[in-house]
Point group: C2
Chain length 187, copies 2
């Protein structure tokens, strides 16, 4: 964060989190990302990066200079359109998060979060029901706008109800259908 906008980055591998911050030192986790995702597109048209990116494990990046990026984009309409699609998807992702933060309680936020992860893992040909969380309880709470303690409590409650098995960062989703109902329950 604060660095001049000279490069954008592509994640080669490893989980990361991105955060924005205020002058007062508050931090908001904006997203968790994995291999293949682009970082830095959100500051096109400004002079410096506005996000902090932190590794949640062993990671590697691909650094692309802004000139090279603009060259690629302007020469190849397919790439250009791909970038539009990526940015557009990022907008939609943030908007769904807004809906989650604005209209759902802690239990719904957390189950929706787990189901979202499940889908991501499934797309990467990993297990959709049995995975490790790269991020801490504190990061999850920050991301979802709830306290770390509440994250723990909801995990415990979901486990008591048999919906998940939670052993620290190793999570099993035992009943995707019922979890889906919890995530989307009307207020």
């Amino acid at each position: 964060m604060g660095q001049p906008l000279e490069y954008i980055y592509i994640i080669r591998g490893g989980p990361v989190k991105t955060c924005i911050g205020t002058e007062e030192g508050q931090v908001q986790v904006i997203g968790f990302h994995a291999a293949g995702e682009l970082l830095g597109l959100n500051v096109l048209g400004t002079s410096q990066h506005n996000r902090d990116v932190r590794a949640l494990g062993t990671t590697s990046f691909c650094e692309v200079s802004l000139e090279r990026f603009e060259e690629l984009v302007s020469k190849d309409p397919a790439i250009q359109y791909e970038i539009f699609k990526i940015m557009s998807a990022e907008i939609r992702r943030n908007q769904e998060l807004l809906l989650l933060l604005g209209k759902h309680n802690a239990e719904e936020r957390l189950t929706a979060f787990l189901l979202g992860l499940s889908q991501q893992f499934s797309k990467r040909n990993c297990s959709a029901t049995d995975f490790y969380l790269a991020m801490s309880r504190s990061d999850i709470g920050n991301y979802l706008g709830i306290a770390e303690e509440t994250v723990c409590r909801v995990f415990s409650r979901l486990e008591d109800e048999g919906l998940i098995s939670s052993e620290c960062r190793h999570i099993k989703l035992n009943d995707l259908k019922r979890l889906g109902k919890v995530a989307r329950r009307l207020p």
Copy 2:
């Protein structure tokens, strides 16, 4: 919402709100927009619009077919870059909103909202301290993730403290500096 992605739209004049919804009928107001803004960019790469746009007064639009849009963008790098910048700004706007919803209480959200409007009006050469709200209390509450009643109560409280004058939708900001402190107060 739900219409096939055939056009994107540019607001000619008049205030509008955009919303997303869930199958359960919940609605989340995502933003308020005025003349000059583009609507529809957030669904590039998908098959249909995912937002509802509703007028909050007399409005007019410019409709641009997707083919025409793509033609313009691919022929003129300046336009292309401009679109990147617009989408990038939209991402940043949503992220700031996420920070607001995730880390700030009702009073901070509402004062930040008023100050944001103030800046917008100021950019349009309108008064930064004396303006009409195009949107209802209910819309504001929905947008900020708080109840309509809470919006009213905070308005009343701010008025009691002399920070604003509120007569229904006619708002005066009496002390921008103190309002700024309220908006950014540490938790």
